[in-house]
């Protein structure tokens, strides 16, 4: 299933989020089970499957990570079930450092500083990922997959910062 074509969007990493939202509403109005409450069983079944795809596609296309993963999958690179881990030693070293600073950060100010750093990093990585996915060469696709694995670390780190911030907040 190609989620880009389901939403009538160009098959690329950059997505027009307003268009995505607008098409989401259109697709919902066409496929939601409530619109078929009096339809035949066949139609009910069919629209429910389609509507589930519409929902899943929206979740995927909304999120940069899931979107990139889907794009790579359409290009023949399956990441979801792979065992591959991040091989970039420099990146891993940096992650370890950051984790130590997260452990040491116990007040709102230092956690917010970390969150800011992490945001900047995610933004930089997203840009790099976008450039790699744009070329559509095999080599860049592979590098993009590697970047994507790293980005999963970054997002996880970010959510850990947030939950620690929440903990202080409560």
């Amino acid at each position: 299933m190609n989620y880009f074509s389901l939403y009538n969007l160009p098959e690329q990493f950059e997505v027009d989020l307003d268009k995505l939202k607008q098409n989401y509403q259109t697709l919902q109005k066409m496929t939601h089970p409530d619109r078929f409450a009096n339809a035949s069983d066949q139609q009910k079944r069919l629209t429910m499957q389609k509507n589930a795809q519409v929902n899943d596609a929206y979740t995927v296309l909304k999120s940069p990570i899931a979107r990139a993963e889907h794009l790579l999958q359409l290009r023949g690179l399956e990441l979801a079930s792979e065992q591959e881990t991040v091989g970039n030693v420099e990146f891993l070293m940096q992650q370890m450092e950051w984790r130590e600073s997260l452990e040491d950060a116990n007040d709102v100010a230092s956690l917010q500083l970390l969150a800011k750093q992490s945001d900047d990093d995610i933004q930089a990585q997203t840009q790099a990922l976008s450039a790699l996915l744009a070329t559509q060469t095999d080599e860049d696709n592979k590098t993009a997959a590697e970047k994507l694995r790293e980005m999963k670390f970054l997002f996880k780190f970010k959510s850990e910062i947030e939950s620690k911030l929440d903990g202080l907040d409560a």
Partner: protein, 621 residues
């Protein structure tokens, strides 16, 4: 299933053929039924003008009594009078007795599910609930002087799969065609949203007798999108009463003997005091003892507020978490809606107003608002309002997962995912020649199996024997618009559809429902058969009607001549069978058409989607 009238797509039924959809709020304490008349949704009263039906059922040898009469009997005949049965829906007997120690009921000992032994025989929570639903159905049919086509039944947003399934089973047992199970806060949002033509983000704070829900929705051009939902299925106004009783026990030094003996009276006095304090600044907590003495303690509003402070605070904490899940700030919330009788408590309103920084909406009676919203949705679903833009996008309230090694739960579908949703997961065998495997489905947010709710255990059987790890079994979890789970499985390399036996952990098997349905029907077997035959005929004409209009629209464009002929032949056969054949043959014939037209139906849907997204309006297609 009720018989449906057929109208051309896009054409509404003539006024005298207007179908009746009702909204039912099946509450813990009270239940209501509503419908839309002359464009307005209102709850329906019984012959004495009462709108609230106490959710109480009394069983005696001769009869079953539902409502206020049963409520009146709950003190004198507690064993046979089931109160607040909603709490037991989809729960195991162990859950029930662990949660509520002082229940007056006689539970059947050797059953995993709670079964009440009453003077009228053994009954389970589904059957008790179906009595309440039947009473509401009768009320609606008497009041509207017509048969109802279908009902939207509300459930707490936080209800899990077993509780939802139980509710739906109860409706089936009561002979009600369920159009949709609708989450209570979403129903309330409809009631307010359509009222005020609201746009933007609204929060629904729903504090009932036994449950607390908070939902955050976005409204946009008639689309109600639930962004997140949270709450606590074991926190409600009853806990306020409880906290007050505890306070009185401490203040008056009541011994355990008195506590036990006067448990009901203490709880009733607490409820009364709580209600008095809505308007008064102080109220006396009074219980008459059998020796002529009296327990009497003056409770001020301030004292009461202090007593329930931590309970209210925990609801506010849940609001905060849910806003975060919805990725919405407090300032972005345009309105906050209050639902449930417990939101009458002034300090609750104050704290909610303070947290959201705005005055909560309370213009619709908090007891009725859920039923009103359900009535509006029901009217649309039966097809009375074809031009309505309203659409509800609801979410899965609790994550679905599977048991993995070491008693851990792996999440398959996270909470707050928009439903319907389908997710597939692959499994493999771990022994050579293995032909079966067990799958354990759980619902909840915790990591350990023991901390989540067990929904079902099933075995995949008939797998082709292969070496360990060679089989790839794809298990698909599908959650429908009612929030109900369905599981299918297939071995990928061979395409073998594995047999699944879903055994609900706490609930009823399909066959049990059928049994109850049969025994509950007083009419003879013949009536059943006649009804089923009629239903198949109606379904056949519905299928034919839909296919003829589909073929007229797209037959030439989307089908080759050969494909067209196959479909035409099948339709002719079905038309003949519908007239002359027996029930089973009609059913087979419908299935045949269904099978042969699947591709065509899928092509039509894709075509209309492409057209819609390329800029044409849906009406032009």
């Amino acid at each position: 299933m009720a018989l449906l009238q057929i109208a051309e797509p896009g054409q509404s039924a003539a006024p005298h053929q207007r179908k009746i959809g009702v909204g039912i709020d099946l509450g813990t304490t009270n239940s209501l039924v509503s419908t839309v008349k002359s464009g307005e949704a209102n709850t329906l009263a019984d012959e004495f003008g009462q709108h609230l039906l106490p959710s109480v059922v009394q069983y005696s040898k001769e009869s079953v009594v539902v409502g206020s009469k049963a409520l009146a009997a709950s003190n004198t005949d507690p064993v046979n009078t089931i109160v607040s049965v909603k709490r037991f829906m989809g729960r195991s007997l162990k859950d029930v007795t662990a949660h509520w120690q002082n229940l007056p009921y006689q539970f059947k000992a050797d059953s995993q599910n709670p079964i009440f032994q009453t003077a009228g025989g053994d009954v389970n929570p589904v059957q008790v609930s179906s009595q309440i639903l039947s009473a509401l159905k009768e009320r609606a049919e008497a009041s509207l002087a017509d048969e109802i086509t279908g009902a939207v039944i509300t459930v707490p947003a936080y209800f899990d799969d077993a509780q939802r399934q139980g509710t739906k089973d109860a409706a089936q047992l009561a002979g009600i065609n369920v159009l949709r199970l609708l989450n209570e806060p979403t129903a309330a949002a409809i009631a307010y949203g359509l009222d005020s033509k609201e746009e933007g983000v609204i929060g629904v704070y729903d504090l009932g007798g036994g449950t607390f829900d908070i939902s955050v929705l976005r409204l946009n051009k008639g689309v109600f999108e639930v962004l997140a939902t949270g709450g606590n299925s074991a926190l409600g106004g009853d806990d306020f009463d409880h906290a007050l009783v505890e306070y009185v026990i401490r203040e008056l030094n009541l011994d355990i003997e008195i506590q036990k003996r006067y448990h009901r009276d203490l709880m009733n006095a607490a409820k009364q005091t709580k209600q008095n304090l809505t308007d008064a600044d102080s109220s006396a907590f009074v219980v008459d003892l059998s020796d002529g003495q009296q327990l009497n303690l003056n409770i001020t509003k301030d004292t009461f507020n202090q007593i329930i402070e931590s309970l209210v605070a925990s609801t506010i904490a849940a609001c905060k978490r849910t806003l975060k899940d919805a990725d919405v700030t407090i300032d972005e919330v345009n309105n906050i809606v209050m639902v449930g009788g417990s939101t009458r408590v002034p300090v609750v309103r104050e704290k909610v107003a303070a947290f959201f920084n705005k005055t909560p909406l309370t213009s619709i009676d908090p007891d009725k608002v859920v039923a009103v919203g359900a009535g509006i949705q029901a009217d649309i679903l039966v097809g009375n309002n074809p031009d309505s833009d309203m659409l509800l996008l609801d979410v899965l309230p609790l994550s679905l997962g599977l048991e993995t090694m070491g008693g851990l739960v792996e999440k398959i579908i996270p909470r707050n995912t928009t439903i319907p949703v389908a997710k597939a997961q692959e499994f493999t065998t771990f022994k050579d020649g293995q032909t079966a495997m067990m799958v354990h489905v759980l619902q909840g947010e915790r990591e350990l199996v023991d901390d989540c709710r067990s929904l079902a255990k099933f075995s995949l059987q008939g797998l082709p024997p292969m070496t360990a790890g060679a089989a790839h079994i794809r298990v698909t979890f599908q959650v429908d618009a009612d929030g109900l789970l369905n599981v299918t499985a297939m071995e990928k390399s061979t395409g073998v559809q594995a047999e699944i036996q879903v055994k609900p952990s706490y609930g009823l098997e399909e066959t049990e429902i059928m049994e109850m349905l049969k025994s509950s029907m007083q009419n003879a077997k013949q009536d059943m058969q006649a009804r089923m035959h009629k239903e198949q005929q109606v379904e056949a004409s519905r299928v034919l009607e839909a296919m003829y209009s589909a073929l007229a629209e797209d037959g030439n464009e989307l089908l080759s001549e050969a494909e067209r002929k196959v479909i035409d032949d099948a339709l002719n056969q079905l038309a003949q069978d519908a007239q002359n054949a027996d029930t089973e043959t009609i059913k087979k014939s419908i299935e045949n058409v269904d099978q042969l037209t699947q591709d065509f139906a899928a092509r039509r849907m894709d075509k209309s989607i492409q057209l819609a997204l390329s800029g044409q309006s849906v009406d032009d297609i």
